[in-house]
């Protein structure tokens, strides 16, 4: 007993292992959810094959019309074989790192479903990253690998200059996945401020194809464009891992390129946390109730404490399998139109 004015509730804590277990649960659930929708990824394989095939034929034509005597048959520092590897890996990588966090989050904000997330005793940012990891595990096994199985025999993938680069490329794509997830989270947070965010989300998707280097390698552009993109986080999503595979990574060394990605992953996570804490104060729920947390990180913990009551234990914080996110993120969301970029 510590004197007068004792707090009504003991401070609620989940503890480290329980927290890890909680978010691992989201990884698992996201994987299972994707598994349930696996049929729609069959046409996705066709879509990505179309992208690779189209770019293959396009770049073949471009290389065929390069000026006579161009130094060593390279355009933008790449031979045709390297260019084809670039195309294959960019699109295969995209099929792995892609996720819909921006759509899901903005959809939840505008529909008011975000309220359900806010009363849960967890961090929405970490939860969404966990779901992206689970989704990526599914994508790798049942989307990216099938795409590679179709595309590599058709067009031929040149091996990297050193076998160890296979492993480093994979690691680099893992970092790319985190960077992409954090960018999407930041874009999704914009929904707190904008009434209609679907146009922004679409524009971002188109812009990302260019800024990540998926469409054309940056070496095709004049120096000042390369300088600009080198200072942006987007190159860490596709250009860096693909160039690592080709043995032409930007920056001084392999470690430097990976560190750059890791730095962006970390920096954008911190930025996302900060932006989320700001944005969440802006939320106006249906009926005009304005959310006003007392502390920046308050909404989750306080509401949860109120919901669970004093007897809340770490086990009580387990998510139920039918959490709204697991339903909403891929079956609903902004209409995509005819494009299947969203797979």
């Amino acid at each position: 007993m510590n004197g007068a004015g004792a707090p009504a509730l003991p401070r609620w804590r989940r503890g480290g292992p329980a927290t890890v277990a909680l978010y691992l649960q989201f990884v698992r659930l996201a994987f299972l959810k994707m598994l349930a929708y696996r049929l729609r990824y069959y046409t996705g394989v066709v879509s990505y094959t179309v992208f690779v095939a189209g770019n293959y034929f396009l770049f073949s034509a471009i290389y065929a019309s390069r000026p006579e005597g161009a130094e060593a048959a390279r355009l933008g520092g790449l031979t045709l074989a390297q260019m084809i590897a670039y195309v294959i890996l960019s699109w295969a990588g995209r099929s792995f790192t892609f996720n819909n966090i921006d759509r899901t989050l903005s959809w939840q904000v505008s529909k008011g479903e975000i309220a359900v997330q806010l009363i849960k005793p967890l961090h929405v940012q970490t939860m969404m990253l966990s779901e992206a990891l689970g989704e990526a595990a599914f994508r790798f096994l049942l989307f990216t690998l099938p795409i590679l199985v179709v595309v590599v025999p058709l067009f031929g993938l040149a091996p990297p200059p050193h076998p160890a680069l296979y492993g480093w490329t994979l690691l680099s794509f893992l970092l790319a996945l985190v960077v992409n997830a954090q960018i999407n989270f930041l874009v999704g947070c914009l929904a707190f401020y904008l009434k209609n965010v679907s146009g922004v989300v679409r524009a971002k998707m188109i812009m990302m194809e260019f800024l990540t280097g998926v469409l054309v390698p940056f070496t095709f552009f004049p120096g000042w464009v390369q300088t600009v993109v080198a200072w942006l986080p987007f190159q860490a999503v596709s250009y860096v891992p693909v160039m690592i595979y080709l043995g032409q990574r930007p920056g001084a060394s392999l470690a430097g390129a990976l560190l750059l990605q890791a730095a962006w992953a970390l920096g954008l996570s911190v930025l996302g946390r900060w932006f989320w804490n700001r944005s969440v104060r802006h939320v106006t729920l249906q009926g005009g109730v304005r959310w006003r947390p007392r502390r920046p990180q308050g909404p989750c913990c306080r509401a949860a404490r109120a919901a669970c009551g004093a007897g809340c234990t770490s086990r009580g914080a387990r998510p139920r399998s039918s959490s709204p996110t697991s339903r909403s993120s891929s079956s609903r969301g902004w209409p995509t139109g005819w494009t299947s970029w969203s797979t």
Binding site: R40, V50, I62, V200, I206
Partner: protein, 234 residues
Amino acid sequence: MTANLVSLGVQLLVLSAVFSKVESLRGWSYDQVLFIYGFSLLPLGLFNLVSVNLYGFSEQYIIEGDFDRILLRPVNPLAQILCSSFGTGGINELILGGAVMAYAGSRLGLDIGAAGFALLPLLAVSAALVYTGVFLGLTALSFWMEDRLGLAPPVYNVIRFSRYPVTIFSPLVRLLLTFVLPFAWVAFYPAAWYVGGEQWERVALLTPAVGGLTFGIGYLTWTRGVRRYTSTGS
């Protein structure tokens, strides 16, 4: 409009990057390719005006059972569906397409004359009929198949590559885009009337026939599907 502008900007950047490395793409200059790209936005815009209703057709009309209501009315079912709402984003594409064509045309010193202006709506509408025919056919498949997604997205993704002159591709791809999935007719063949020189003029004038034929096949598939339709009963 933002998304349309961004899309256009990205396309321009990619084209200028490519043409900073090569002077011409198998004989086609930057301005010619740009003109073809601009033209391709016209039929795409027209198609996008009505296509929002085809996208999601099986969900809204077949699974939800709205098609019963359509069939009860004494107006052509397809006309009812296509006109039930308009994707106003298509207007942006028409404007931007016109602007890109005007810009590329002035750089080429193109004088299309009165005949060219008169032909433009005909070619654009015919090309839009190619789109509509293809996607109508694909949509109609949902009368037979329960699958909601189907083949439409991968086919849609072919469009972005059919905006280049088909002659730069290998003969097999050219054959596919001309006869099997006739997307060469939505941009290159009609636009070649303006920028391709004399040998392409006759080919370009076949566009209305191809548009009619493609739409005819799509519509035939559609009517057969409609006859097969059984209501969900809910």
